[in-house]
């Protein structure tokens, strides 16, 4: 994979990454807002990374804003996302030898990430996750997913509905059927 070139751990490479992050590129939200972001940070988004690479020279990249057309990329969401990538761009690359998928899944969020993602405005939270998904920023989707997970954990279906403001769209018959599906679990032998 071409990715791997970026993941080679070395002082040289880190310097290049730091240097590149001094280059500011412009990102444009679906609402029209234009925001600056370091190049290395912005490339944490695979979408942006591919766009930048297809555009070629840095000169073009720094003048024209990159348009993120998906509706989820609101001004507020984009601001949040830039805050996240600007904080995380110099994270060490994931070492697949030492942590497997499952370990990473169970890993707690860092304190910074927790504070970052714990926003009061649920619409913003889902905008950020949907936008991060659209922009292909795996780390951030992961953070959002873990956050929502921690809220769902241990709750009943009614509590989940209330928390996430979801309407129950099952008919009474369907609900009965699902209950029956589960009924045998409760039955004693």
């Amino acid at each position: 994979m071409a990715d791997n070139a970026d993941h080679i751990d070395g002082d040289d490479n880190e310097d290049v990454r730091a240097q590149q992050n001094l280059i500011k590129i412009k990102l444009k939200s679906s609402e029209g807002g234009i925001y600056e972001c370091g190049l290395t940070a912005a490339k944490m988004s695979d979408l942006v990374k591919n766009m930048v690479e297809s555009l070629g020279t840095d000169a073009v990249v720094t003048t024209e804003p990159i348009i993120l057309g998906n509706e989820a990329v609101t001004d507020a969401a984009l601001k949040k996302i830039i805050e996240w990538v600007e904080f995380h761009w110099d994270d060490p690359p994931v070492d697949h030898d030492f942590e497997d998928e499952k370990d990473r899944r169970n890993e707690e969020l860092s304190h910074w990430d927790k504070q970052f993602i714990d926003v009061d405005d649920q619409a913003l939270l889902f905008d950020v996750i949907a936008a991060a998904n659209y922009m292909d920023i795996k780390g951030l989707v992961e953070v959002g997913a873990k956050h929502i997970c921690s809220k769902i954990r241990g709750k009943s279906c009614q509590e989940v509905r209330e928390m996430l403001k979801i309407t129950n769209d099952f008919t009474a018959e369907e609900e009965d059927a699902i209950h029956k599906e589960n009924a045998w679990i409760y039955a004693k032998d």
Binding site: T74, Q122, A123, L124, F126, N133, C157, D169, E175, I178
Partner: protein, 390 residues
Amino acid sequence: MSDSMDASTLSQTSVVQKLTKMPNKSYNLRRRVGDSASKAGRHSSPAVSRTTIDDLPDDCLLDIFEKLDTIQDKCALQRVNKRFYFLVNRLLKAQKTFTVGSTFGDNNEQMLTQRICRTIIKRCPNLETFKMPGFYTKTSTNTLEERIGDKEMFSLGRKCKELRELDICGCGNVTERGINYIADVCPKLEKLSISFCLQVSGASLQKLTKNFRTLSINTNDMTPPLVDCLKSLSKGDGKHITELNVCAYNELNSQENILQMICTEFQCLRTLRYSIVSKDLVKYGLFGSLRNLRELVFDCNALNLSDHEMLNIMMGCKDLKSIFIRYEHGKDHNTLTDYSLRKLPLFCPNLVKFNFQSKETGLGVTDTTIESFSQLKHLEFLGFRNFDNI
């Protein structure tokens, strides 16, 4: 206040979505409203945005749902709405691994009951790995009859034909019948752990197929009976296993020399983790027959391992990559010295890890050994604990 208002408008939009069956389109509509608002004054846009979890694409939701590891949470999610129901169902159907229950039941939600076990089996027919360390805990909720038993083994065998790995450590109600059934109907089984299965005699282990690779048994007071289990395993195709983990905690009171039996019966072993407390002197002479051995763990209180025997092991198992030896040095027992250890690089040139721990100070091992280890090209880890002469 604004919350409840939000909720009512929200439920309307999602109703619209469901009615039109075009969630994306209604999403666009809503967003356009937000757009016009943002032209008037961009800062008001977050208040107008009404994105809910329902606006996330499927793969995003699946990302979230799969992180919930208890079946209770997943079942609760299923009942939230239709979309959740189908997504969670898709996840469960695809799920290949389930680990449930904690060995030490500090977390009640994670504790394994028959109910949970059966739900998992019913919902996840494609399970390949099922680990349920149903270690009975001190909490009153998990009484004797609630422990995982044969009934669960039967339904597991009926549903999950693809099963490759099963860990029923401490599932006290499983008897030989349960194991027998699994051995009969799950021919793909590769790994089995029957540690602390108090009612298992081991007789059906001889039915295991040639796919079987790894057996783990920890026993306490000889239940399950380690010697019998190994004997019946060696009678069938199970004798070709490549990994064996045995551990007996209480003083082993057996006439059999277990190590000797392992060496003669299971010659394909690549990994042997041997941790047995025994007064008997162990005979290592046959150890050389385990020619495929890659990883060796000896963790015993009194390991009667002399230089001569260590040399035998080294000469026989030339492919060893990892050695871990730990013992509390008993007075009457032999111990290792430079004499054998400095020859290790000669016989086992591929060694990657070497870890040697001894409770009482090992007098016989000095810097000479360490110096000779410099010839090991692949060595990545070297550990000596409690050695004064190094």
